[in-house]
């Protein structure tokens, strides 16, 4: 910064005599525009901040409005604009009194964590295969993975629901009545499968971009085939892996269709956060303020956690990485 201003002053002194004459006749904006034309680098910074502020405003405004809805006391929800109608911060405590919302959050957190771990492990193997190995049938198999994402979730639902409600005698020692319905697996299994194609494609793209030489070097050093994947390929693709993880975690945490239908909606049967939020919809009235407060409570910590974790992962793994 100091160096920059110094050079600026020097420049200004050099051209001072002609400039001084002009500057007296120009407004500050005009002067800024003139300077920017002669040196585009100067225009870049304010434009950058302008764009950033624009994005911040558009992404955060609906969220801000949601907060206003949450703070508006029940029954006064009319023409909410920039301020709430009344002030009721107690709603953030009320939501836990109406429903055990923390239990729903816990359920969702467990389901999303387990599903993300499964997806990253399984999709890493598949992404490695599709991105780095050549074998007969590669194209058709990739297409088969993609095919899953063509179908609306409803297309899977009826057969899966039958399957999960079937009592399977081998499972009886593990699950109370031998059926998967109302257990965390009823969500973890289908959601892992549904978010897996995305993760496979992301990881395929990133793994295929790692230069062959790095993997070969590790193999020459005596690393096993799997070791090369986990010690070389995955760490070097950290931004891709972390992004696949974030997208899967948040995706599972907020999934709509299966979350709604695969449990009976009770917190003790591993119903996710979605059922908690919908729980504020009564038969006769909907507590919009509670729904809004609950979603802020449910979303905000998760988003922060995910972002902080992601930055840690990316900087931790790529710190020692180098490109060929």
């Amino acid at each position: 910064m100091a160096a920059e201003t110094e050079t600026e002053t020097i420049e200004r002194e050099a051209t001072g005599e002609q400039k001084g004459e002009q500057e007296r006749n120009r407004g500050p904006l005009e002067r800024w525009v003139g300077d920017s034309i002669s040196d585009p680098g100067r225009a870049y910074k304010p434009m950058f901040w302008l764009v950033t502020i624009f994005f911040l405003f558009t992404t955060l405004f609906p969220f801000y409005w949601l907060l206003m809805v949450a703070l508006t006391p029940e029954g006064q929800l009319q023409d909410v604009w920039l301020t709430p109608n009344g002030f009721n911060p107690g709603v953030f405590i009320e939501v836990f009194e109406i429903l055990p919302f923390h239990r729903y959050m816990f359920n969702s957190f467990v389901i999303a964590t387990v599903a993300t771990v499964i997806v990253l492990l399984v999709a890493s193997l598949a992404g490695y295969v599709f991105g780095r190995l050549s074998f007969p049938g590669k194209g058709p198999l990739m297409l088969l993975v993609l095919l899953v994402s063509f179908f609306p979730p409803a297309a899977f639902f009826i057969p899966l629901n039958d399957l999960f409600n079937t009592q399977i005698s081998i499972l009886e020692p593990v699950l109370s009545d031998g059926s998967i319905y109302n257990t965390p697996y009823a969500l973890i299994i289908p959601l892992s499968a549904i978010f897996m194609p995305l993760a496979i494609f992301i990881l395929t793209t990133f793994y295929s971009q790692i230069p062959d030489g790095l993997e070969d070097a590790a193999r020459v050093e005596g690393t096993t085939r799997l070791g090369a994947l986990f010690r070389v390929i995955i760490p070097l693709s950290a931004p891709g892996v972390a992004t696949a993880g974030v997208l899967t975690f948040i995706g599972v945490y907020n999934e709509f269709f299966f979350s709604f239908l695969m449990t009976d909606g009770q917190p003790q049967s591993w119903a996710p956060i979605l059922d908690g939020i919908l729980g504020y919809q009564g038969q006769y009235q909907t507590l919009y303020n509670a729904m809004a407060a609950a979603s802020i409570i449910g979303v905000l910590p998760m988003a922060i956690l995910v972002v902080v974790a992601q930055e840690k992962i990316v900087s931790g793994l790529t710190a020692g990485g180098l490109k060929e």
Binding site: T59, T223, F256
Partner: protein, 332 residues
């Protein structure tokens, strides 16, 4: 050496894996993913496909009737199916433009879905790219800007729907008044198919731009920074640096993001259900869900609509698949 640590009880397995041919090793590593997909996706899909070939049975104990072949599919295309909204409703005329819409453009599932997907992918790509470029810069507070950009993606669909429903609800929110004052929307936008279409488009672009931004950002972070230094030294302008370094290197990640965004947009349902409702803005998935859970017991037709949706998505997606093949040929 690393191998020594791995030796022990696992030694025979490791040796066996080391000696597999490349193809055999590839198939081995694909077993977990395809096992999971077979259980959760392929088996239910085959079962649903069989349903789509059976007759609807609206009465009686059995949910489905006898085998009717492709009749359900033909009924849907000709408009004879018992669906609340038509899949597509066009007639052909002798004069220009030779086609005639039976009902409004925004009330036909096929057109609504295609228009939604194209506009959605266009806007999310542009906005997502902008957000990713901002987040790729090093500045104070970047972590918090990143949280802000990701937050919409973390909002559950029910809540996303609720926010935009309330904003455009004439008594609660300000959106309806504002937009009708600007002359863009009617006085009750959520009751009009056209206005609701745009509300849903805005709501979805708001939420899913973050998805694009994150994937493109991951692509940007993997770009070797020294390339930019080389370009700077050779006197490349900012635009040239973007065009010749950033864009080609981000393109693979961008294509994956656009591919999945397209498929997601074409399956839009939860957002519509929680804002304007499926009768106002019928999407293809809306039709599947209404037919399957609407209480009319037209399970065969529902399954057939699901497969037709998949077929349409497949046709639409083939564009990307051709692109992927080009990439593959170009890069390697």
């Amino acid at each position: 050496m690393a191998t020594e640590r791995d030796r022990g009880r696992l030694a025979p397995v490791v040796d066996w894996m080391e000696n597999l041919s490349e193809a055999a090793y590839a198939y081995l590593l694909l077993i977990p993913s395809f096992g999971l997909l077979a259980l959760v996706a392929f088996y239910p899909l085959i079962s649903t496909f069989w349903m789509s070939l059976l007759e609807d049975q609206t009465r009686g104990a059995e949910p489905l009737g006898g085998f009717v072949g492709l009749e359900n599919y033909i009924n849907i295309l000709t408009g004879d199916a018992r669906l609340a909204r038509q899949f597509v409703d066009i007639g052909f005329t002798g004069s220009f433009p030779f086609v005639e819409l039976g009902v409004g453009f925004f009330q036909q599932a096929l057109f609504v879905t295609l228009a939604f997907a194209i506009l959605n992918v266009l806007f999310t790509t542009l906005i997502g790219f902008g957000q990713a470029l901002v987040l790729d810069k090093d500045f104070r507070g970047r972590r918090w800007v990143r949280v802000a950009v990701i937050i919409p993606w973390a909002v559950p669909i029910v809540i996303q729907g609720m926010i935009f429903y309330l904003i455009f609800q004439p008594t609660v929110g300000f959106g309806a008044d504002l937009m009708s004052w600007l002359g863009l929307f009617g006085s009750d936008p959520l009751a009009s198919s056209q206005d609701s279409f745009f509300i849903i488009l805005i709501a979805d672009v708001w939420k899913t731009s973050a998805f694009m931004a994150l994937l493109i950002l991951a692509g940007l972070q993997s770009v070797d920074r020294s390339l930019y230094d080389v370009a700077k030294v050779s006197g490349a302008s900012t635009w040239q640096r973007f065009k010749f370094i950033t864009f080609p290197l981000v393109l693979p990640a961008l294509l994956v993001a656009m591919l999945f965004r397209t498929m997601d947009a074409m399956r839009v349902y939860g957002l519509i259900e929680s804002t304007a409702g499926c009768t106002t803005v019928p999407s293809l998935t809306c039709m599947v869900v209404e037919a399957m859970f609407g209480g009319t017991r037209i399970f065969g037709t529902a399954a057939a609509v699901a497969f037709m949706t998949a077929a349409i998505i497949g046709v639409f997606i083939s564009v990307y698949i051709v692109k992927f093949r080009d990439q593959e040929g170009g890069v390697y």
